[in-house]
Amino acid sequence: MAKKNKSKITKKKTEIMGSLKKLGTQIYDQLDSGVFPTISMPSRSTENINYDPNLRQYILGEKTVTRSARNIRHVKPFTQLAWAALFSNELTFHRKTSTLRDVYYSAQAYNMTFKNQQESNNIITDLETATGHSREDFHIFPEERSAVFGDLTIGYTVPGYEGKTLNLSSHPDGVLIGPALTSSEFVKTSANKVIAIEKGGLFTRFIEEKVHSKHNSILVLTAGQAPRQTRYFLRRLHDELKIPVYIFTDGDPWGMHIAMVIISGSANAAHLRNLNTPDAKWSGVWASDIVKYKLPSDPLDEVDIKRLHELQRDPRYQGDPLWRKEIKTFLKIKRKAEQEAFSRYGLTYIVDEYLPTKLKQTS
């Protein structure tokens, strides 16, 4: 098994480096034949982002853009892209990991400067689009804040940890979802479901209340909008362990959308695949729960209402009628509630009463 794993990793590495080298060679050859180099890639402009109902996620359309070093406005980002490719190549070759923040600062060592973090992030996204690989493939990760807890034993594949295993219930704060975790092999689990939770408070409460054993579940903290690798991790849990994923968020348009992005992906990642879990379920807190459970709630403010109208038009919300129903309810009651609102019924109510009901309701 270890050997097979190793060859899989080597194959992946060869593939990634191959595509980076291809990009470099393309630029080199153009320069060498005396023409300004160009790079074409799918356009990420909004009119080229389409929702694919079969894949159940956003994808990029047919439109491409061409970056040319002949263009005064392109030549700098073009150079940055070439640098990012070279930097990624080195990371991949040495099997080192880096963060987006790290990329921003590393550039300075190469005498390449980015105006700000946003600029360097955009270049990394360009590189993803141009090569068709996600930045995680190039060993570039965002700063981490999401976590996982539950009975799942993983086997590391990162250098120096090969062969070592870890049970994800071994630390009560949960285990950080970072590159070492997302690249690990899933060895063994007793869980039969995954519960993704928006907020750290509730995640901790669930661990304390032993939701993982009571409900045979792996708990994942998304910490707000789930980072890409957390979404990728959820997808792997679903696909490889073949267990359902339930999502619990605040009862407001923003919480609802956190669930939607896990399910249907984001427009920002339309150039990538396997980041969404189409079969995941949003289990609460629904607008109708606010009514049903008489939860303490706050009035929706203007931006909330504006957001709800936007979501109404969003193609991702056109599938399951649940979404449109809940949006309508929000607009009708004009109230929102946080997950913590269940505390009015005692600290354990949400775990003992609400959670089982909702899991049943959405499975």
Binding site: G24, W83, A85
Partner: protein, 507 residues
């Protein structure tokens, strides 16, 4: 009961009592005014012979007189025309005596600058002035003089004659004055700098009481044509002047009278004018009645066909010298000048010369630096009251791609036989429509040129920036792609960089 007594006072006395008029307001102003009057006399003395002026000014401390004022010895040496010995006592010892009451452009405006300085010095320190001068002939004359203020007469204390072995020519004035140099210093230094700007053919040296040397070297020996004395222009004539002309004329008829006593009036113009005013050409001038004289004056002002005064009585710097002067003192990156054609106000000819300078060593401030000159004298006070200040600030500079935070200096020079000062202080030009129009026209002219310069500069900068971007990034692309492709040799990108030059090679 006492009778009211009417006491006649002498010119010296009058000016001593009213010394504010001549600029001797307080100790710091007095020292500035004294230097300025003597330097200007020296410049005139050299220019009248078209000699490149060499002027040496030394101010040395002679001890404290009171808490606010010190006594200084002021010495001014020039290489000008020199003064004939018989005129020396009156030239420096008698107020309102001098060569400046004729019709030509000169610097001094009161004819009492030098004398006022000597007078002021004498009153405050009770010491005589020393004048040494030679016209370059065999002898050098040295006088020690005081002024009898009541009688407005020079008192000669001492007189010496030396053999002029080295054929020296020029004038040395030395006298004692009470003042406050430290407070006057900024204005004095500014005065020298600006004087050097409009007299680029002069060497100016100033040694201050602390022994510091300030030197302004000439950058050219070219000099403007000295002004010529001229006849009065018809538009500038009043009844009084006309009566005096009639009194002295030898002409037997009006036609000849007009042709001989007025500036730029020839046979045709004179005839047209006489027809216009209904006066007979054969009329004897001395036979004109008082009413006829009045009619004549009125018509002289009304008649539109007199030719404008020519500029021979004026001595403008000219575009080249103005440019050289601004270049020398301000060291700008770019400069454009314009000289207007002669114009007149109330019969007095005048010429406006303007320059605008950008960049280089001109400091960036929040407003334009304006340098004002009248007959090659810097005007250092009351800038905001000057007509040129108003004109400059009335312009919509954005149209000319210029804004006040740019390093820009504007130089305006008016020369005239009678500079239209607004006040007795003679520090700013009054807002007369004729003058305003000329200033505005000159300004528009140079502004248009600076606009072209700005556009071109902007263009060149943009182009330079564009090329520098390619020159910066293309080699990096080559570097990165070579590594990434695993190649050894970098691709040659010189041709690519060369190809982005749209507009040919830059200077």
């Amino acid at each position: 009961m006492s009778q009211a007594s009417f006491q006649e006072i002498s010119a010296s006395d009058f000016f001593y009592r009213n010394r504010d008029i001549a600029g001797f307001t307080n100790p710091s102003r007095a020292i500035f005014a004294a230097i300025r009057e003597l330097v200007e006399n020296s410049l005139d003395a050299a220019e009248s012979l078209k000699i490149s002026p060499d002027i040496y000014v030394r101010l040395s401390s002679e001890g404290k007189e009171s808490k606010d004022a010190q006594v200084y010895r002021l010495r001014v040496e020039d290489n000008g025309s020199g003064i004939q010995p018989r005129f020396i006592p009156s030239a420096f010892g008698q107020v309102l005596y001098g060569s400046k009451y004729k019709l030509k452009q000169m610097r001094g405006t009161f004819g009492l600058g030098g004398k006022m300085a000597v007078l002021y010095g004498q009153i405050m320190t009770h010491k005589p002035a020393t004048i040494i001068s030679s016209t370059g002939q065999a002898k050098i004359y040295s006088f020690k003089l005081m002024i009898d203020i009541q009688r407005n007469r020079p008192i000669i204390m001492d007189r010496k004659v030396f053999i002029n072995k080295e054929k020296w020519r020029g004038t040395i004035v030395e006298f004692y004055i009470e003042g406050d140099y430290l407070r006057a210093m900024p204005k004095i230094l500014e005065y020298f700098k600006q004087t050097a700007m409009v007299n680029p053919y002069a060497n100016l040296t100033f040694v201050d009481p602390k022994g510091r040397l300030y030197r302004f070297n000439r950058v050219t020996t070219e000099m403007p044509e000295p002004p010529k004395e001229t006849l009065p222009h018809p538009y500038g004539v009043d009844v009084e002047l006309l009566q005096r002309l009639i009194y002295v004329t030898k002409q037997k008829n009006l036609l000849e009278f007009l042709k001989n006593h007025f500036h730029r009036v020839g046979d045709i113009t004179a005839k047209k004018f006489l027809e216009f005013s209904g006066l007979s050409p054969s009329k004897r001038p001395k036979k004109l009645s008082h009413e006829e004289i009045v009619i004549l004056v009125q018509n002289l002002k009304k008649f539109k066909e007199f030719r404008p005064p020519d500029a021979s009585c004026l001595s403008p710097l000219g575009q080249d010298l103005l440019k050289a002067g601004i270049m020398k003192e301000l060291k700008p990156e770019y400069i454009v000048v314009n000289q207007r054609k002669p114009s007149t106000y109330a019969g007095h000819p005048f010429i406006i010369e303007m320059g605008i300078a950008y960049g280089g060593e001109i400091p960036r401030r929040n407003s334009f630096q304006i340098y004002r000159f009248a007959n090659k004298i810097p005007l250092l006070y009351d800038e905001a009251s000057d007509v040129s200040y108003k004109v400059i600030n009335a312009i919509n500079w954005r149209r000319y791609k210029v804004s006040p935070d740019m390093p820009i200096a504007i130089v305006v020079h008016i020369c005239s036989t009678k500079v239209p000062y607004k006040t007795v202080g003679k520090e700013f030009i009054s807002d007369r429509p004729e003058v305003r129009r000329e200033v505005a026209n000159a300004l528009r002219e140079i502004s248009r040129k600076i606009q072209h310069f700005m556009s071109k500069r902007e263009h060149v900068n943009r182009e330079r920036k564009r090329i520098s971007i390619f020159a910066k990034y293309l080699p990096r692309i080559a570097e990165f792609s070579t590594s990434l492709a695993g190649k050894e040799k970098r691709p040659d990108i010189k041709k690519l960089i060369a190809s982005v030059r749209k507009y040919g090679k830059e200077e």
